[in-house]
Symmetry: C2
Subunit: 432 residues, 2 copies
């Protein structure tokens, strides 16, 4: 970040600049805008890409997957073709995959609830451990608010640990897991939400080699964006955590998750969990009582629509074509409006759904609040931190996927005015 | 039941009869049959009835339900048209309905897990109550093994209480709920699994007027077979439990469940929970962390396929036409082979999925085991009782829906031979 331009102004110049920005804000307010950049929701154009899937299973379709009748009860672990597909995405074998329902978030919640109620692989249920002393969970920051919310819901103390641009700061993580009260860590290893970073091979190897003090510590490896590249010729990939765990002789450390939420229809897709045979058998103690099997027709619909991993990747290229102009617009607008001011930095992700924006310390809440008043809904400031408490109050998650391109550009114009006005006021207030 | 015919025979006659039956069993064994009457699975003919639903949402379909985009995130509680439909089925208003995933069994499990982990409406989590003293659950018998399995999984002591032919023996239930350790009761109020009975108005009223000692006692009202009539001109109906609870000023007593598992495709349908506003708000504390919303495309597919409750009932009439001959065959075969022997009785349900068969005390396990050897898989003996322990060892659940009619008749021929042979041997053994 270059020097803060507002600080180079005289008091009079700064007040003049603030008055000018306030005037622009008033003009915007008069437009009564109503634009939403709050959540990582796909756009209408993206949803339409998956409409052909709705024709895959018609009234005359063969509803068998091999010997499995997808139209009737049974096949608890999911149908073979779907398990095989997700095994490739998650870097493991089909027999290590359990097919979930519509969302990996739910699968994560249910997996942790099993640990709370029944315990992990024979260990004392976390509910009972928690009575004796607080349990803790590592939350990499900036991170995903819904992950943090799950562990908060179950009563964990959320311990923030920094991401570095290529995954977590492993010196810190290795230190934290020495505490037997630390029971897990959320990871989004590829195109992380919201930083967009992908874990390096070294980080994956160090995670696989973690020797937590708690036998029931688990890494929740949410590979939500594994195929969500923006640039066909510049893709990032994360190493298979299962290969790394096997090499590290640490086979039970990780549960990996994935879903089609941002491949086909959010909330109407299929999800999967991959883990060691022993972990799956442990989870099955709960799951066999909980369900007979998840929606096999939807599994079949997805498996046939994609065909194989190459088909899935071709489909994701279509998503990328829709998303690239949006991400390019974010970078262009931010660069154009803020690039020379030295008040903010932002990420340049090669995939995923977000741009992570960092403004001046103390600016985020004020910026989001001002944008809201001007008709632009952003993700709540602080939401990328445990308990919504960003200690610097500087991070804002930008979600550019949902609006149309022209709405997005309009929203960014408003957003940058807010950033400038809040930054200028902060400089002025500091002088008082 | 008339007098036991085998007891009227002399020892020589009885031995002769047993030898004759053993010969028939040997002939059957030589046929290497492989028939399944174990579970309440719809037949191929039934599944085909719902195939047109697969064309309802094609690639060009309108994917909005009113203002709700069913193809994107959101609408946590479920889409309006699906909530309205299930509200009619469950005898309540749409605002009291929460749409679940593929199965009501899962919804029941998750609802109880909320009580275990977070507690019911501010009460101490059941996990913590359970540490101090055992908690109990009322299991009406004969009942549904998967219900019993859920409460066993969570560590409840299962207390059997008898059904009477028109619902639970309420004198016993009213006595049981005076114990503050008793936290709930499973009910299948219409065409109960497996007895086929429907709760009378008096029973519904007495349930609604229960004053359990435990504030967190809940009735799990699984109305799985609410529209599963066999005879258009002879239908049973259960009163709205919500109306009864309102009249009894007991609005939070009941969670009601329902699904389309046996209306469209088992495991690929939609489910619903109905409860008071306060109960729903309580459950939402868990559910809002667990999911963004269940599969709205499948909700839309179902809502459009049925149209309304009348459309749903017309569809269920088609199921009835498939099922009637099967239930008639069960009754005809049992009557023909066993009617005059005085060794067994069975139910004559007007709906649902099962016939409940009661043989001589001590006969059920031996009958199921012999049938298995002869190639007929039945539901495990005792499975209709908590812990699989039928104190009389006399009850067998017959599930006639899945086999073709000719396979079913063949299976019943084998079954009745088994019943006769086991009964005759029991009489012989008693004489020794």
């Amino acid at each position: 970040m270059s020097e803060n331009w507002y600080e180079s102004l005289t008091d009079a110049e700064l007040n003049n600049e603030i008055a000018h920005l306030e005037e622009r804000a008033a003009q915007i307010a008069a437009q009564n805008l109503k634009l939403d950049m709050a959540r990582g929701k796909p756009s209408r154009e993206q949803l339409d890409l998956s409409r052909p899937m709705l024709d895959v299973l018609g009234a005359d379709a063969d509803l068998f997957d091999g010997s499995i009748d997808c139209a009737n009860y049974g096949c608890f672990e999911g149908i073979p073709s779907a398990r095989a597909l997700f095994a490739e995405l998650l870097g493991t074998q089909a027999q290590n995959v359990f097919m979930g329902g519509e969302s990996s978030l739910t699968l994560e919640f249910d997996t942790l609830e099993h640990a709370m109620v029944k315990g992990v692989m024979g260990n004392t249920p976390l509910m009972y451990q928690m009575q004796k002393a607080p349990l803790k969970w590592i939350c990499l920051v900036p991170g995903y608010d819904r992950h943090f919310a799950i562990t908060q819901h179950f009563g964990f103390e959320l311990i923030p640990a920094p991401l570095t641009g290529c995954g977590p700061d492993m010196d810190i993580v290795e230190e934290l897991v020495k505490d037997p009260q630390v029971k897990g860590m959320w990871c989004v290893p590829q195109y992380s939400n919201p930083s967009g970073e992908t874990y390096s091979s070294e980080v994956v190897e160090r995670i696989a080699n973690l020797k937590p003090a708690a036998a029931d510590f688990r890494v929740y490896w949410d590979n939500a964006y594994c195929e969500h590249h923006l640039y066909e010729d510049d893709r990032e990939h994360v190493d298979s955590i299962f290969d790394a765990c096997e090499k590290a002789d640490n086979p039970h450390l990780v549960y990996a998750f994935c879903s089609t939420s941002k491949m086909t229809f959010p909330g109407a897709g299929v999800s999967a969990l991959a883990a060691s045979k022993e972990n799956l058998a442990d989870l099955a103690q709960s799951n066999t009582n909980r369900l007979i099997g998840h929606d096999k027709l939807n599994q079949l619909r997805h498996a046939r629509f994609f065909g194989d991993v190459e088909g899935l990747r071709a489909h994701m290229n279509k998503h990328a074509a829709v998303l690239r102009p949006r991400f390019d617009a974010v970078n262009r607008k931010l660069e154009q409006e803020l690039g020379s001011l030295g008040v903010a930095s932002w990420t340049h992700p090669k995939g995923g759904y977000f741009v992570s924006f960092t403004g001046m310390p103390g600016s985020a809440k004020a910026t989001v609040s001002m944008a809201k008043e001007l008709g632009i809904t952003l993700t709540g400031a602080g939401s990328t931190w445990p308990y919504g408490e960003d200690p610097q109050d500087s991070n804002i998650r930008i979600a550019p996927t949902m609006p149309t391109l022209s709405n997005l550009e309009q929203a960014l114009d408003v957003f940058t005015v807010c950033v400038k006005l809040v930054s200028a006021r902060l400089v002025r207030d500091a002088r008082r």
